[in-house]
Symmetry: C2
Subunit: 416 residues, 2 copies
């Protein structure tokens, strides 16, 4: 990576849809597939199928394009998180204006509240939350690991108590796929078992065995041709296990692959050390999604390892806590130093918040406890992540990703 002479790329690729050098159709988008949701019959002709085209590479960094029934997604891409069918603090119009083309919805949360059947009844997740772009729904495995109470895994299912009301719940591969199909997302993740950062070897082996088994069962159960089913590679930081898992999943020919089981307590350095050998295990013509990662610096490193898709709660979570991402490092807008600061949150940013308001105003909003403070900073931060990925794609397209990454990381380190 970072070696411009190795760059294989097409000029102005982002403005020419369908010119990818290689592409793959989702196996589930085969012609004539039929499915029904709550009694309504659908066929694949109703909506466009899923495809991914790898447009070019710059070292290991990749430039690609996802086509989903809800539009085009240029990769590498950042997906804002809409856990409970809303990106916290923002309207869908805000999220679109910030440059997002695809959101993440949390299957675990939506199943608990308001329930995937209800969402299906109301026309699916896109209509329910008023978002006409693409949606990826995660596996729920990470939330079962981090939120659910008294969880127990068998080959049949994960059994646990809801973190909301303690009710006993069961999540099987079949139920997971039903949930995704009820939600009607464009990309659905197979049910997986997420293990802690440093588990006993036997525990981790079992989790990987079960993740593979469940991927197979999800694959067999999945019907919606307008929804792509991605598999999740588990294995913690044990590269042999990761390799074993990846090989088994790749043999099943999924339209996309995720790297799961990160952000569970390992250090960023541990994750980044594991990434290159992980992505090397995955087919070049399928999108690679690093789940739940992360900080801007992690994203730049992961792109350099060949990752295409990212999601993270940091832009909105930090926004609610008065912290703004900028290319010169984080700003804590509650700090008294911003009381009289007439400048925008980030100079040069084109977001609604930066175009209309001063740091002094945002500072005032947080001190006064006004909702608009979290809204404006969440908006800026989501736009910041989208701009960062726009820069990543531009640099990759122009064969200077290595330089871009090095300069950006060095500057962040200097301003930290």
């Amino acid at each position: 990576m970072g070696n411009d002479s190795e760059a294989k790329r097409e000029q102005s690729a982002e403005t020419q849809p369908g010119t990818g050098t290689c592409s793959s159709l989702s196996p589930s988008s085969a012609l004539g597939t039929q499915y029904s949701v709550l009694g309504t019959e659908y066929s694949e002709s109703t909506r466009k199928p899923f495809s991914f085209g790898l447009i070019g590479t710059d070292g290991a960094a990749r430039l690609g394009r996802l086509n989903t029934p809800h539009g085009t997604v240029d990769t590498p891409v950042f997906m804002p998180v809409g856990t409970q069918a809303t990106v916290k603090g923002l309207t869908p119009a805000h999220v679109k204006e910030a440059g997002a083309s695809i959101l993440l919805g949390n299957t675990y949360h939506l199943t608990l509240r308001p329930g995937d059947s209800l969402i299906a009844e109301l026309g699916g997740l896109h209509r329910f939350m008023g978002w006409d772009g693409s949606i990826l729904t995660d596996s729920g495995g990470f939330q079962v690991y981090t939120l659910a109470l008294n969880r127990k895994f068998t080959d049949q299912s994960a059994v646990f108590h809801s973190h909301l009301d303690g009710s006993l719940l069961e999540l099987s591969p079949k139920q997971a796929v039903n949930t995704h199909e009820n939600l009607g997302s464009d990309i659905a993740m197979c049910l997986d078992e997420c293990a802690p950062a440093d588990p006993p070897p036997e525990y981790l082996r079992e989790a990987v065995r079960r993740t593979i088994l469940w991927a197979e069962r999800c694959r067999a159960r999945h019907r919606r041709s307008d929804q792509a089913l991605f598999a999740i590679v588990q294995g913690g930081t044990d590269l042999d296990l990761r390799q074993h898992c990846a090989k088994a999943l790749v043999a099943m020919d999924f339209p996309g692959y995720a790297l799961g089981g990160f952000s569970v307590g390992e250090t960023a350095a541990q994750m980044l050390a594991a990434l290159p050998s992980c992505t090397a295990l995955l087919p070049a013509d399928r999108p690679r999604y690093l789940m739940g990662v992360g900080r801007p610096q992690d994203i730049l490193e992961a792109v350099a390892c060949g990752v295409d898709m990212f999601d993270c709660v940091l832009p909105t979570r930090n926004g609610r806590n008065a912290s703004a991402f900028t290319h010169d490092g984080a700003l804590r807008l509650r700090n008294a130093r911003y009381k009289r600061d007439s400048g925008p949150i980030e100079s040069g940013c084109d977001c609604y918040a930066c175009r209309h308001f001063s740091r002094a105003y945002v500072h005032h909003l947080f001190l006064a406890g006004e909702m608009l403070g979290p809204t404006l900073l969440s908006l800026h931060n989501v736009r910041y992540y989208c701009r960062l990925l726009e820069e990543v794609r531009q640099a990759t397209r122009e064969g200077r990703y290595g330089t871009y990454r090095a300069v950006r990381l060095a500057h962040w380190q200097a301003t930290a």
Copy 2:
């Protein structure tokens, strides 16, 4: 009122600026007036002066137009409340899209935090809060009465402790005018003394005497020719005192008059009984503003008594509490009956929330504790009030205000 044959009106008046049958320039907009804010010199030629034109009447109901340096305001008008330099939960773009042309800012709150000098330093309240429409800043008298601690009144000033940090503060007519001029609102209210609903007669007489004295002092102190200074008629429900107060203030020739001291504990019936004789005391060619009122039914009644301007926190406060205004009465969106309701908040409403989301979605947002719930309902409610006033103006223009009011009130009563 309600007698169509009495209607004096001009057709399509709202689309023809400057065709008012009568108009008045602010006394403070005399040519050549100069003032300075924090060292910057301004003259009246910098911005357009203030004017009000009475376009037509329908019984006692009036159709008018305010011109301020920040645009045209068709009356009767509802002013959303932006207490702390933000309409709670909404961006300025939301507020504008909802149809608001003028906002209210709370002088008391802004003086305490972030401070009017700071706002002046940052270019005035419009620029600070990113609102390019008109702004009215209230007197602070109502907040001194309802929020401030240990308040004491002398002819010099109101002395009280801040409700935020207990610090000792003083508000004199001179300081009040300085504050308004620092904020740079389009309309500023004279400092007044707000009395409780049922005070001892001597208390009320003193409050009225002081309100007149302070209006005179504010008038003498006021310099900004791009800001209209309105006087406030006090006197509680004592009509003799109200008459005395109104006569004294009208003799000073203010460009607009407010009816203050309502919404302090008296019943709606008491207020409405007092209104016709209050408005009868005010000159026809000046706008009349009923401060802090109120519910939709109160507004319809007050318009029928010749009131032109309203402000109230109900749209946003109720919105935050999951309550939606509709022409068929209030909806409590937390109620389980809306769990599967695919309809919009209010059928026929053109607001962003009603165009994109279902009651079921809003219900979900409130149950999940998501910020977007309060935002969407505040947006709808502000639009509801703006639509209500659009209907009021349309009915008045067409000489059918009496019928409109009667039908609307009867329907609300039936659906309550």
